[in-house]
């Protein structure tokens, strides 16, 4: 499993079948405050890297989440509808947003790994 981060605080974790799980980082959920709603895409939708993939709403803001890579949406986290708090409780685990079947795994190459991301966050 490879995990990478964007400088917009999205993470993407790819398994050995080319399915990527996408969500926001722990740093992001802290900054957002209590998450009240996540607007997820439809399963089957094709998204390109950089497209708006989801919208996360907290009590004070609504933030677009951009796709870190291109692919087809194969699953969305339906549990978030009744339980948006899990984004705050476990952003990088149970609070995942969607799964993409990647069209080009090489798109992840210019994203930050865990160590680089932590450095980046320290500098903010």
């Amino acid at each position: 499993m490879t995990t990478r981060f964007t400088n917009e605080h999205e993470y993407i974790t790819v398994d050995d079948k080319g399915i990527a799980t996408i969500g926001i980082s722990n740093y992001a959920q802290e900054q957002l405050g209590d998450v009240v709603f996540v607007d997820l895409p439809e399963v089957g939708k094709d998204i390109s890297k950089g497209d708006e993939a989801a919208v996360v709403e907290s009590v004070k803001a609504a933030s677009e989440i951009y796709a870190p890579a291109s692919g087809e949406v194969v699953e969305i986290n339906e549990a978030l509808e009744g339980n948006p708090e899990s984004v705050n409780a476990d952003a990088q685990g149970d609070g995942w947003f969607l799964k993409l079947k990647l069209s080009d795994a090489a798109e992840l190459d210019d994203l930050m790994d865990e160590a680089a991301y932590q450095e980046y966050v320290k500098g903010l």
Binding site: V36, F37, D39, E57, S58, V59, K60, A61, A62
Partner: protein, 435 residues
């Protein structure tokens, strides 16, 4: 001061206004007139109007003359209500937020819907916003506007759609709901907009239309310009409407020369995140006590900007309060009684007026407003009635100038304010006009 802001003369501040629309020269007013004389001049001007409060009055078509109890004005003029503004800071606005929450609850109950917002500007803009909301929910762009929809509501929907790629299928004016409305619904339709009671008076059972719309994945928007009708007819929510918009003017607000009015907006719970306007919610404070806040703010412009559900960032607070107080004073029983009196008065009047040869009742059903066919053009009939001191209604062709087939029709409203004397005056005047 001009030099401080870097401008040579005051005319430079108007640089954005095209030359050809600028007023040149002095205003055509006397340089000086005493206050007493000004009062005299303006009163004489005002006296040229025949006003609703002084003559038998039967004009409706979207704004209705109802009795507004004095207690309402007395209460809304309390400075706490009159001067308070937007309740963005809940800690100091619990009074405002509580009445908005009660208002929303009343609107939801009246319309038979699950949720309602804290009001829109008026019924027509609420209608326009409902169409835009349906486009967002269904991700489609085509709205079907029934022939029962008020021409001015239709114009507002068109205004709001003009600069986007939205399509409008506006059906011809209809005196009774025609079956062909359902035929127009296809899988490109985002919504069907039906007014009931319709602009020409007729009531529509929305159930079949709701089913037909839902079968094609479209929403049904019900429009109710005379809110008192809901004291007598099945609420649109019970007939399957997805969004209900209405004009609240009839309760607590009065005619006010055209405004301010109060738009009511209600919808199904599942669409609440696409609903425009302010929403007040109930919650508990840090001590566990019940409190109220504006909520679901991430729909709104100050958070979502260009992706907001609407650019509305206010509501019609004082009018909503007046509406709410009036409805509270009436209660369910009082509202039903009020509606019954309205309908009875309209039936009485329709019967009396259709006794005239050449006058025919065109509305198959009606609540407190109906359309009559007249042997002479409606515009002429209304004008002649006015000269005889009776404000008899609205000529259909005034609402639909491009429809010569409506030339000989007038829309007549009758509420609880009309007396036997009013009706007698109308009958007498109409007889003279038609002879």
């Amino acid at each position: 001061m001009l030099s401080t802001i870097g401008v040579d003369n005051i005319d430079d501040l108007f640089a954005d206004i095209p030359e050809d629309v600028r007023f040149k020269g002095p205003l055509p007013l006397p340089r000086h007139v005493g206050e007493l004389e000004v009062e005299r001049i303006l009163s004489q001007m005002a006296d040229k109007n025949v006003s609703a409060s002084t003559v038998p009055f039967f004009i409706g078509a979207g704004a209705y003359k109802h009795h507004v109890p004095a207690s309402i004005d007395h209460l809304i003029q309390r400075s706490e209500f009159l001067t308070s503004y937007t309740p963005y800071q809940p800690e100091i606005s619990q009074g405002t937020l509580q009445y908005l929450f009660e208002f929303q609850s009343q609107v939801a109950l009246l319309t038979g819907m699950e949720v309602a917002n804290a009001s829109m500007y008026d019924g027509s803009t609420a209608c326009g916003e409902a169409v835009l909301m349906a486009h967002r929910v269904t991700k489609r762009k085509k709205a079907i506007l029934s022939g029962t929809l008020h021409a001015q509501y239709r114009a507002v929907v068109k205004n709001l759609s003009e600069f986007s790629a939205h399509e409008i299928d506006a059906l011809a004016p209809a005196f009774g709901e025609k079956a062909d409305l359902i035929e127009h619904i296809d899988d490109q339709t985002s919504c069907v907009v039906v007014q009931t009671p319709g602009v020409y008076g007729n009531l529509t059972n929305l159930t079949a239309i709701a089913e037909a719309a839902h079968a094609k994945g479209a929403l049904l928007i019900a429009v109710v310009p005379e809110i008192v009708s809901l004291g007598a007819v099945t609420p649109p929510g019970a007939m399957g409407a997805d969004i209900v918009v209405a004009e609240g003017q009839s309760l607590g607000v009065g005619l006010n020369f055209g405004g301010p009015y109060v738009g009511l907006f209600a919808c199904k719970q599942k669409y609440i995140r696409q609903m425009p306007g302010r929403i007040c919610g109930e919650t508990i404070d840090a001590d566990g006590k019940r409190g109220y806040v504006l909520t679901l703010s991430a729909r709104e412009q100050h958070i979502r900007r260009e992706k907001a559900t609407s650019n509305i960032c206010t509501n019609s607070g004082l009018c909503a309060l007046a509406f709410s107080i009036h409805l509270t004073l009436l209660g369910e029983k009082g509202l039903r009684q009020l509606a019954a009196i309205n309908h009875a008065n309209a039936v009485k009047l329709a019967d009396m007026l259709s006794e005239n040869p050449g006058v025919e009742l065109l509305s198959e059903t009606f609540f407190n407003e109906f359309t009559l066919k007249t042997p002479k053009p409606g515009i002429e009939v209304i004008d002649q009635l006015a000269k005889r001191g009776v404000l008899g209604g609205v000529p259909a062709q005034r609402l639909e100038p491009d429809r010569p087939e409506l030339a000989n029709a007038i829309i007549v409203a009758s509420t609880e304010v009309n007396t036997d004397l009013d009706r007698a005056a109308y009958v007498k005047a109409l007889k003279e006009v038609l002879s």
